[in-house]
Symmetry: C2
Subunit: 641 residues, 2 copies
């Protein structure tokens, strides 16, 4: 292995050298993309400083000194850990884990009655699901930028969308999408398609990746040609599913236009195939555009069906039903093969779709898509105004607000910076157009990338985050399972500068980087926001038959009752209100043997319900350090035999 191959070169299109990573077993004969890779064990290449690829300044400017604050929040989805995460940038410090679809016994998510009600339970009260797979998180918009109100995040495994309120950074709603499997891309709208005065988010769009029998009840299991995938629209306010639109092919990511008129999803497997070869048979795939106004008009007019037990209106967006552009609800724009990403440029003009198995990015002009819907554009493909060759395995594209795009190249293990206007000029025939500005190595196999404020009209071109799928030799070894890398790149100058290797708990997926002034959080809760809050007036034990309500208060360093007595066999509900008012003065409640573990922040109320099936003395104790006498903060929970 020759580290001199780590050069930044526009001409370097092979996958030799440090980028050879996926093993001979992964060989696939794909035209154009040399996917036949060889395994390499690079002990000699370990712990190389970034100097190997250029100058290595002593400080990269990512160190945020003790007592200083970061400039940006990064809200990131966290793959099959099921959670969301907040990082500070440029430091990369994890400021918060937000449990979403996972169980988190630190806060009691999936343990308290309140969190279970949000997550969803079986008839016996157990959680319906304990796993999740979050890929995309996006913020709500107002006037083309973030309003700091909500984050929306997907669950790919169980087709759920969750909403996080940004004042507390906690999940307050989870909605299951009916008849959807593999819910992958998610994006809020930015404006109402009809009433342009509503210049903020009211809908959340959800792309379904897998096609399945509709309904998926055991019929047609052997005939994929009868299966379908639905694009769903969820109300941002109520989180109810408003409508769905059935399409041909699989959907992947979602983007929305700044005028609110269009949403789109890049599509692979437009072949509607069920196996790998079939999914790569066609020459091109597509980016499918949705005409939101027309879909909602059809719903209003009752021109929809429903599927199985679901009452959600389903509009037909398949090609066969949408031959006439003037009435069509969908427009399938052909793009490079097996695309994995569609992103809106911050000037509001374009969506960019990358090819993945084609070394191109496809630039689609939104006014032309609207022209197609009006019947004034000849073919869907005529909406394409640029298709530069940018490198191997292009996936996602971010923007700097200065006309440049940054696309992750999975196979090349690079980030390519290219100019949108130059690509459009080149597409028109200008052979002098310099499209590619720079390619920079990332480490390694990048997936998502995203830039600071890059998905808003306020894209500021300061930072780019490259979420890489393999870290290999970038960190101290910790066994067979490696941490992945979130590489921070300074894109504010003429040249990209790799300034930090941050770590990610798998999987590094999509995220957004938000200026810190956008975020306005609460310091403590309002006690009366919780209908079951405990006050000195209603605190104590109440028994009804074998149901026992224990209403408890915490104030450092004690719970309001030193002894709680119940009888074996009782169904016990413990409700705990934290009466401390000082910011961050959180208490915990752990009850040994009974698997109870949760925290209450200042003025917050939570509850748990369980059967007291073990007799004995159980010391209920505070888990969250609160006071010099924290360790002594414990009460006796006595279950009489």
């Amino acid at each position: 292995m020759d580290s001199s191959k780590n050069k930044n070169s526009e001409q370097e299109t092979g996958v030799a050298g440090r980028r050879s990573f996926l093993g001979k077993g992964a060989a696939l004969g794909l035209a154009g993309a040399a996917l036949g890779l060889t395994a390499c064990k690079e002990d000699g290449n370990k712990a190389k400083p970034a100097a190997a690829a250029g100058a290595a300044p002593k400080s990269h400017g990512t160190e945020v000194a003790p007592g200083q604050l970061d400039d940006y929040y990064a809200f990131i989805s966290s793959g099959h850990s099921g959670e969301a995460r907040i990082l500070g940038l440029p430091s990369g410090r994890t400021l918060k884990r937000i449990p979403v679809f996972n169980i988190d016994c630190m806060v009691g998510w999936g343990i308290t009655n309140e969190s279970k009600a949000i997550m969803g339970t079986n008839p016996d009260g157990t959680l319906k699901y304990t796993t999740g797979d979050t890929h995309h998180v996006h913020g709500s918009y107002k006037d083309g930028t973030y309003d700091g109100r909500w984050l929306f995040i997907n669950d790919k495994i169980h087709a759920r969308v969750a909403r996080i309120r940004m004042d507390t950074m906690e999940v307050d709603k989870i909605t299951q999408l009916p008849n959807v499997m593999g819910f992958h891309g998610i994006f809020p709208d930015k404006r109402d398609p009809v009433d342009q005065k509503i210049n903020y988010t009211t809908r959340v769009f959800c792309g379904a990746e897998f096609h399945i029998p509709l309904p998926n009840d055991g019929h047609d299991v052997d005939d994929p040609s009868k299966w379908g995938a639905l694009f769903s629209c969820v109300s941002a306010e109520t989180m109810e599913v408003m409508w769905q639109c059935r399409v041909d092919g699989n959907m992947d990511l979602v983007a929305t236009s700044y005028d609110g008129k269009l949403a789109a999803s890049n599509q692979y497997n437009t072949e509607n195939a069920a196996d790998l070869n079939g999914m790569m048979a066609a020459e091109r795939d597509a980016c499918v555009f949705f005409n939101i106004e027309r879909i909602e008009r059809l719903v209003k007019e009752g021109k929809y069906t429903t599927i199985g037990n679901s009452k959600v209106p389903v509009v037909d967006g398949r090609k066969a039903a949408n031959g006439d552009p003037k009435t069509a609800v969908t427009c399938y724009v052909p793009v490079g093969k097996n695309p994995h990403g569609v992103n809106a440029s911050p000037d509001g003009k374009y969506f960019v779709c990358s090819g993945k198995l084609s070394p191109t990015a496809t630039i689609i002009e939104l006014t032309r898509v609207l022209q197609w819907f009006e019947g004034s554009l000849k073919t869907e493909r005529d909406a394409v105004v640029g298709e530069p060759e940018i490198g191997l395995g292009p996936l996602h594209t971010a923007f700097d607000g200065r006309g440049n795009a940054y696309t992750s190249l999975f196979l090349d293990s690079q980030c390519v910076k290219w100019n949108v206007d130059a690509a459009i000029a080149q597409f028109k025939g200008d052979k002098t157009a310099k499209v590619i500005i720079e390619k920079m190595d990332v480490h390694y196999q990048p997936g998502h990338n995203y830039s600071s404020m890059g998905e808003t009209k306020e894209a500021d071109g300061k930072y780019l985050n490259s979420g890489n799928k393999f870290s290999k030799d970038r960190f101290l070894p910790v066994g067979p399972l490696h941490v992945e890398t979130e590489q921070l790149i300074d894109i504010s100058g003429d040249k990209m500068k790799l300034i930090a290797d941050h770590t990610a708990y798998s999987e590094p997926h999509d995220g957004i980087i938000v200026r810190r002034d956008v975020v306005k959080t609460r310091q403590i809760y309002t006690m009366t926001d919780f209908p079951n809050h405990v006050t000195p007036d209603n605190a104590g034990i109440e028994r009804k038959g074998n149901k026992v309500n224990v209403r408890l208060m915490s104030q450092a360093p004690a719970y309001s009752m030193p002894v709680i007595k119940v009888k074996k066999g009782d169904e016990v509900t413990i409700t705990l209100t934290n009466h401390d008012k000082v910011e961050d003065l959180t208490h915990g409640l752990a009850l040994p043997t009974y698997n109870v573990n949760f925290i209450v922040n200042p003025q917050e109320t939570k509850s748990v319900t369980f059967k007291a099936d073990h007799a004995g003395v159980f010391w209920m104790y505070c888990t969250h350090f609160c006071h010099a006498l924290h360790l002594e903060m414990r009460s006796r929970f006595i279950v009489e035999a």
Copy 2:
């Protein structure tokens, strides 16, 4: 609020200024310690750079440049998140989360059959516990330093000890301690007490904090005077409980001597009280020492009892049964009130116990404890050779290998550096002895601290980590629940230097900082280590009645079967072996609706078992990015109605 109060001053013993934090409700009339604190909201004090407390150099040297590696591993326990964590230092990057007592749907911990077997299940196959509370993690020893073999970690809620094998950084055993509640402190031994050739860890000692009826079956629930707490010894190799020793009072942390002869636990509530006032009635508490050789001799001679259903031998270590030093198994050395911490100095001579409610650290000389056991020391208290006043709320003590100790001061929000020899001289009457070398503000309310290699004979005095319980204004706000701080302090020079505010997912508890050369990890697994591994010879579907075994292999970018068919009502076991051999080429398996989500690292095997109770087509997909066609890596799991 006057930030000029943030001065480093040995004289500053009040708790005014930035340290006032715990709220009026927390007021307690304690002599000596001004615990009556007032709430303060300090908007004006936000985002102050460290410059406020001294010079703020531009770079603090904690930035590890892209491509460079950290110098140390920090293995930390993570409180009521139930996990362990590996950080790189000085960067503070999270290199790994190790699920221990929690459910982690990223790796499938608590989901796969293999992890459930380690965690423990109910008769119906569900997990016995899904919560944990880890406070202490310590490594196994050889020749007085870490051998890189194992980590041991406690669960306070459910009294379990877990072992992490350091080659894979995964839990391989969890043991429940019988008749123990509130298992808090844990420490491996360092040498055999008898056979001094065995100069490595063979035992793990566990302190129990809460006293309970023995057995805890519903009797004596109202008579705390009859309750007890047990000190447990677990075999490091088999993880079986070897013996227990009943003591008076509650136990907290554990330390062990380098000669293997002594283990000790600091004790609060020597009053055996059940409420807060009772726990603070006595003037002093104690550090209880265990004579390991004598305890094991009693066990061998059959001089023990058992409790309830447990067959573990229990030796009586209460004061009443140990009046004669020459036969005693325990020695209760009086120390400052409500201590929270006992730590061994790296020269092997002393244990230091801090007072928490007394502003002192107590230095106990181990040779004197051994003299007491020989009958040649007059009183237990005579083992104390120093008791310096060091500040308010002293908790834990770390060492630099140069004769200095560093104690966290919870109430003062400081780290105090003091000299052990000077403290001993002062105790002998030397009024010129300069004990306190320096006090430095930390932010805020420090709990545990630990130094690089500080709990070994190789203590190198490079770094100190201060795990602080409140971060308040140190990070961008993320709602009512704040992240906590792990502050990194450079202790290599004459003055302590605060060099980084790292973040911790609660709770920041104890940890160890280990030189990177100590750790030797595996890159991939050995397939045959898994008895149920799947090969081309046994892959496929096998049905026995309604039990269906699906034996599956993964190799990027495909599973070995594109279609798997079962019948509704079948009990399905999917076993997946990853046949990829390239380091870090991990695959995932997610099965929608069936709540299946786990990963397999290269050459690893895992399995899940579930009832196929929903008919339909379910796309089983890879969750862990593996290849350019990762997204296309999916098979159809078909459940026929």
